[in-house]
Each structure stands twice: as structure tokens, then as C-alpha cells.
């Protein structure tokens, strides 16, 4: 940095300031902003390039010199030069931030489809998405297509938020049925094993682990008031573990087997949350057995 862009302000104390100014002028040292601030003190500014000349003249003279400040266009560069360590540290910090802002550190699963995190992870890996890899190394649209191909989701969105990949998925399926008010008993809409039964009003007739058939009464609205038997509306939530079988033509290749599995899952996904899947050949047919949990609201 050229010192011409730098100026230094001094306060010089001593007698005969006129002599000082004339001597500086004779030595080709331009002085700027000269002001008498006390009886024997002047404040003046010189170019930083004239510093050596000034001190060469003042050396051994009867003037006391005090540097007040440095200024000019080049001053910030001088400060940076003095604090090179800080500058290097800041540069390294920004470089690290720049690099790491392009790296995906985590995947966040959002939406009702987050229960299929394992399957989503697998699809992401197929699409080349790995933790600690660059965001630019895959195409979000392609990932979305792969997730749609799973056949579980009605909505898929893959986006970047900070250093995270946010995968929003919404499950395909019918929403929970609306409560039927005034129902005096709750019957199982499907056969299966009771996984959970929460009764807010009414009398439970089955317990967790019991096997029920379709149409079995699981919660009764009957109750005793004093000595009188009465019947009221029930309010309960029943979760059943059910099994469904989807029969497909015998597949000839692994791809067809996978396709049959996806089809079966797609069919059953409308009824509940899939918890398990199994397939086997039976009598020249390919039978896919799917276990799922169905939630039923009654009231």
C-alpha cells in the first residue's frame, strides 16, 4: 500500500513553531492542517511517506512529538497488515463456511410419511443422497420421483433448509372416519388382534392381545346407574393389527416380485399403516401377506 494514501497527525510541543514549520518546508515536507492548540503546541499532519524526514529533522531538537492518529484511504489496509492473524482467521472461517454450506449434514423427515423413514432413506441412497455429500451431487426432482415410486405417498417434497435436506411426505390413505355420534356400541370393522384400545366412554369388552372378528362388539355402551341398567353412547379408539393377502400371478423375475410387493403395499396402504410384509409362492401363485395396523374411532 502506497504511503501517499496515508496521513499521520502529530502534536509537537516546543518553542518557535514558526521555525519548525519553515524548517519542514525547506526540507520538502508538506504539512497540512496546522493549528495552534496551545501556547507552545501545534497539531499538524504530514504524509506517512514524509515520516522519516520529519523524525530525521526532529532528532536531537527541542521538540516533543506525539503521534495522535493515522488516517487516509490506506489506513484500513495498514490495520489489516498489522493484524494479519485475524485476517487469516476470518478468511479461513469464511472458507470453511462456504464449503460446509454446500454439504448436507442431516436429513429431516417431515409429514405423516415420516413413519417410512427407513424406506425413504433407502430411496435417498438410491438417488445418491448421502450425509456429508454436496447438495449439488443429486437432483431433488429425481429424488421426489423415486419417493413417489414407492407408492406410499400422496405428496412428496425434497428441499434444502440450511445444511439439512428436508423430506416432506404425506401418506396416501383415507383420513380417519368422522365420529358417529350417538353410537351405543362399537364393533370391529375388521378382524385382527387388538393392539390398543382406549375407551373414553363405555365398557370395553376386549383387551389388548385379544383376537376379534369383523362385527364383534368391542365396546359396549351399557352401564349401571344405581340399580338400573342404562345404555349410552360410546367413545373409544381401537387399533387392530390386521393381515391382508394379495394374490398375484407368479412372477418370472426379481423385478416382477418387487413390482408385486409394491402393488400389494399400495393396495393395503389405504386401510392402515403397514407394519410388515411377506411373500411366498403358493399353488402356482405369488401371495403377498401384509400386516398393517388399522385405527378405528367409535363414538
Amino acid at each position: 500500500m502506497k504511503e501517499k494514501m496515508l496521513y499521520e497527525r502529530y502534536e509537537i510541543t516546543g518553542l518557535n513553531r514558526e521555525y519548525l514549520l519553515n524548517a519542514l518546508a525547506r526540507r520538502q515536507i508538506p504539512v497540512y492542517y496546522v493549528k495552534k492548540i496551545q501556547k507552545n503546541k501545534v497539531r499538524l499532519t504530514i504524509s506517512a511517506s514524509s515520516r522519516k524526514k520529519l523524525f530525521a529533522f526532529l532528532d536531537g531538537s527541542c521538540y516533543n512529538v506525539k503521534k495522535v492518529r493515522t488516517f487516509g484511504c490506506g489506513h484500513p489496509f495498514v490495520l489489516l497488515k498489522k493484524r494479519l492473524g485475524i485476517v487469516v482467521g476470518i478468511a479461513i472461517f469464511f472458507a470453511v463456511v462456504m464449503v460446509f454450506s454446500r454439504v448436507m449434514l442431516d436429513v429431516k423427515y417431515v409429514g405423516s410419511g415420516a413413519v417410512y423413514a427407513t424406506e425413504i432413506d433407502r430411496a435417498l441412497e438410491d438417488g445418491g443422497v448421502k450425509r456429508y455429500s454436496f447438495f449439488s451431487s443429486w437432483d431433488n426432482k429425481e429424488i421426489e420421483r423415486k419417493l413417489f415410486a414407492l407408492g406410499k405417498f400422496s405428496f412428496v417434497s425434497v428441499s434444502r433448509k440450511g445444511m439439512r435436506l428436508v423430506v416432506r411426505t404425506e401418506l396416501t390413505g383415507t383420513p380417519p372416519s368422522i365420529l358417529e355420534r350417538g353410537q351405543t356400541q362399537m364393533t370391529a370393522v375388521e378382524g385382527g388382534v387388538v393392539v390398543s384400545l382406549k375407551v373414553l366412554r363405555g365398557t370395553p369388552l376386549v383387551k389388548v392381545g385379544d383376537t376379534v372378528k369383523r362385527g364383534d362388539v368391542v365396546v359396549s355402551g351399557a352401564y349401571t346407574a344405581g340399580e338400573e341398567q342404562k345404555e349410552g353412547a360410546v367413545l373409544a379408539t381401537l387399533v387392530l393389527s390386521c393381515t391382508a393377502q394379495v394374490v398375484c400371478p407368479l412372477p418370472s423375475s426379481e423385478e416382477e416380485k418387487d413390482a408385486a410387493m409394491i402393488f400389494a403395499k399400495h393396495v393395503v396402504a389405504e386401510f392402515g399403516e403397514i407394519t410388515g410384509c411377506n411373500a411366498q409362492e403358493e399353488g402356482g401363485e405369488y401371495v403377498v401377506t401384509i400386516t398393517y395396523q388399522r385405527t378405528q374411532f367409535g363414538g
Binding site: R17, E18, L21, N22, L24, A25, Q28, I29, P30, V31, Y32, Y33, V34, K35, K36, V42, L44
Partner: protein, 86 residues
């Protein structure tokens, strides 16, 4: 033709061939520019005197300071009220 040259021509002086001994340019109440200064004789808030090749130049005013001093040129800042030559 510049302003200074016009004034010099009107005064009968030829600046190109015969440079003036000294030149004073006043800039309203902000100060003035003095050329042809040999040295500074006194430097106070209300009076600055310059030595010329022939004679002395006195500058009176308030809050006087030097904006620049080198090569025989002096920029005086402050409210210059009077300039005298002796």
C-alpha cells in the same frame, strides 16, 4: 483565459513571462491561498505573517490555521478579515 490570468491582464501584468512576486486568492470566509511565500514569521490564531521576497504580508482574521504549507504555497483556513502588505 482563466480568472487569475484575466485579472493579471487587466492589471497590466503578464503572468506567463514575468511571474508575480506573490499572489493572494481569497475564498470568502473559508480562507485564502497565498503563493510566493518565503517563510512564516508569526503563526497565531488571529494573525499570520509571511515573509515575501520583498516585504511582509500580514493576514488578520479569526480561527486562522494552515491548511497546507509547502513549496512557497500556503493555504490559510479560517475567517480572513484583512490582508496587509508592509
Amino acid at each position: 483565459m482563466g480568472l487569475i490570468q484575466s485579472i493579471a491582464t487587466a492589471c497590466g501584468a503578464d503572468c506567463d513571462t514575468v511571474p508575480p512576486e506573490y499572489r493572494v486568492t481569497l475564498l470568502g470566509k473559508r480562507g485564502g491561498y497565498f503563493e510566493g511565500i518565503k517563510s512564516i514569521l508569526t503563526f497565531e490564531d488571529d494573525c499570520i505573517s509571511f515573509a515575501l521576497k520583498q516585504g511582509t504580508l500580514f493576514v488578520y482574521g479569526r480561527g486562522l490555521a494552515l491548511g497546507k504549507y509547502c513549496d512557497g504555497d500556503v493555504a490559510v483556513t479560517g475567517d480572513i478579515q484583512r490582508v496587509e502588505r508592509a
